[in-house]
Each structure stands twice: as C-alpha cells, then as structure tokens.
C-alpha cells in the first residue's frame, strides 16, 4: 500500500480543482479567447471561488484524524538526505542512492504544489479584494500570479507526462498499491522499512 484512500481522494480532488483553475484562467488571460468565451465576470467568479476553496480539502485531509498516513508522508517529503539532493542534481542518474517512498522529484512536486497554493491564494486575494492595498501591490500580485501560473502549468504538464510514462506509479495513485518488486526497485529505502515492520 503506497497511498491510502485519503491521499488518493485528496490527489484527485486537487487535480480536478487545478483543472478548473487552469481552464478558467485561459480565457481570463488570453484576450482573443476571452472574446470567444465571453462572460468574463462569471468565468472570473468560478476561478476565484475554486481558488478560495482549494486549501479546504488539503487542510481537511492533513488535519483530520484520518490523515495519519498523509502526515507521515508529508514528513518524508520534508526530509531529504544528502543522497537525495545528489540524486536530484544528477537528474535521477545517481544509482547509488536508496530512494524513499517518494523520489526527490516527487517530493519537490509536493512542496512546490503546497507553496503554489499559498502564493496563488495570497496574490489572487490581493487582485480580487484590492480595496485595502496600495495600487502597486495589485500590479505586483498580478505579476507574481501570472509568472507562477506559467511555472505551475509547466510542472503540471511534466507531472502528467511522468505519470503517463510510468504506469505503475500512476496505478498506485489510482488503486493505492504497488508490487513488492516495484518497491524494492524504485523505493528500496521504503521497501526495507516495510519489510522491517512486518
């Protein structure tokens, strides 16, 4: 068992909400498409409220009594060994590292997504509820929101690309399970832990 039900549910709810955010962002950002879709105020409202509720499933899953596995995995995501840093620097070619349940790229993806949610929410709030802030903040927030959105789209494309080319990993996010052989090969440090526990 690699991912429990809470983790999988959170992943797919997040995926759905990110999709809504990206899809509504397209006509908000590209004028030529805005002209095709129209109803800018409605599209903007969907985008804003989806964004506002984005952290809700995250917080529910992390803080709830059902979030033990997720919390343990977040601790793994946070802690990196020197070996993992080297693995990332070698773009995954460093074969000496005994990888964890999540590889450093996956760990980075989790941290990046978390940071993105906070920054996009913060800058989005300044853009939408601009009343109390100086003008230059609204411009600055728009700039950060636009630039980070570009990075997020790149990361999502990379993430989906990796998932589609690594079917066992993708299956583990759907069914939660991986084979023992897969674990020994791709996540040996974790496989050792599991073996020690049982």
């Amino acid at each position: 068992m690699r991912f429990d039900g809470v983790e999988r549910a959170l992943h797919w709810v997040n995926a759905a909400m990110f999709s809504v955010l990206v899809l509504t962002a397209i006509p908000l950002y590209f004028g030529s498409l805005a002209a095709v879709v129209g109803h800018r105020d409605v599209v903007a409202r969907i985008h804003v409220w989806t964004g506002v509720f984005l952290p809700v499933p995250v917080l529910l899953s992390v803080l709830g009594p059902w979030g033990r596995t997720l919390r343990a995995d977040l601790r793994r995501v946070n802690r990196w060994s020197a070996g993992e840093l080297a693995w990332l620097r070698s773009f995954g070619r460093d074969a000496f590292v005994r990888l964890d349940k999540l590889n450093p790229g996956q760990k980075l993806n989790v941290s990046f997504t978390g940071g993105s949610i906070v920054v996009m929410l913060m800058t989005g709030a300044v853009m939408w509820w601009f009343g109390p802030f100086p003008d230059s903040w609204r411009t600055g927030a728009t700039f950060v929101h636009d630039v980070l959105a570009t990075f997020i789209v790149v990361v999502i494309v990379g993430h989906v690309g990796m998932a589609l080319t690594h079917p066992a990993s993708l299956r583990s996010m759907i069914t939660g399970r991986v084979s023992r052989r897969w674990a020994r090969r791709h996540a040996p440090a974790w496989a050792d832990e599991m073996a020690a526990e049982s």
């Binding site: 805005a34 990046f112 411009t139 950060v144």
Partner: protein, 242 residues
Amino acid sequence: MRSPRATGEVATPVGRRVFLGMVGLGAAGVVVGSSVQRWVAAALRPVTSVSGGGVSALIPGEDRFRIYTVTDSLPSMPTSQYRLSVTGLVERPLELSFDQLKGMPSTTLVRDFQCVTGWRVAKVRWDGVLISTLLDEAGVLPSARALRFDSFDGVYTESLTLDQARRPDVIAAYGFEGGPVTSQHGGPVRLYVAPMYGYKSCKWLSGIRVVDRVEPGYWEQNGYDIDAWVGRSNGRDDAPTS
C-alpha cells in the same frame, strides 16, 4: 569510489525550505513586482515591439490590451449595417450611418489607455468624431444635463455629464492605431473618453441619449466611480492620461 548512501543519514528539511521560500518570494513579489515588471517590460521592449501582438501577448507584463466583455460572445456588426443614434433631449434626433459619421470633421487623439484593473497601454492612436460635434448637430435642449451611452451588445451602458462629454478629448472613435476599430476593441464605433478609466469608453456604441440627469452605467451600478478620472478616482493614483 563512492559508497552507497542510505536515506535518512542526514535529514535536511528541503520540503519546508521550498515551501517557505516560495511564500517569501511571492510576498516580496507582491510588494516589488510592479517595479520588476516595468523593468522586465523595458528590457523586453526591443523584442515585443518587433513581434507585435505575437510574443508580447504571451509574456506577463504591461503594454497589452485585455479584452473584457459582459456578454456571451463578441458583439460584431458590419459597417454597412451600423447606425449611431443621437436621441432624447435634442431638437433634431440623428441616425448616422458609418459613412456619414466618417464624413464629419475628425479628431485624432494619441493617449495612454489605462484600465481600472491596472494595465496600461502606452500611446494608443484613436480617430473619431468629437461628441460635442454630434451634440451640436442634434441641437441640445436647455433641460439636458447628461448623456447615456448604449452598446449594441445589449447590456452595457455608460454615462457622462454634458460638460464631460463636450471635452475636446471625448470622441466616437472609428479608427484605432491607423486602422479600423476591430470588434475586439469595440468596433466599428466605440466611445473613447481619454481622461477616464477604460470602462467609461463604452464599446460597440450604438446610441447616445441626451437626458436630464446622470444614469449610472454598467460598472457604476457595480460600485465603480461615476466620475472616473484617471488617477483621481476608484482609489487609484495612476498618472493622468489626458
């Protein structure tokens, strides 16, 4: 010869650092972002000015129009069918075709275009007919105080006081950057109120009604200022555009 390393020997809190770093950078970006953006836009200007709408439309930065509509689709109308009516408190109601409008004395304005949401496009050229010319043609009655503008999108309206509308930088525009006003930019004819925020410059202008008091327009019913002087309204301090 390197020895195999195990995870967990040295635990660096990389996850937390990435997370907090992003939040810190994001917050800093909000505060200094507008200066960074100006700097980036200036640095990229040699590229963006050559490529026109292509590349520059994809780069986050200033200097490009964003198209806002309040209806399903982009309103459009061929110039042959276009009519501009001037009605209400006037001696002679007008219904002008596109060609009749183009036959009237024209005015050219080159001004920055400032949106109330923050973007600004430098030195945009507009050609059109002064609203005051249209008003003189129709003959305004003494009880008149204000104008109400209607858009053929069927929803949008705008307002100006009579004094504001008679300014020499308020026109019914049919020319944009040397060509026609495309339907994206509110063509074939739109209102252009140079000294005010963009929402005053009603796109797809179809009717001017002379009335006895200001009737707040579409966004003004949603909380925007009625007197929308750039830099002196809506809580903003942009440089004036006219």
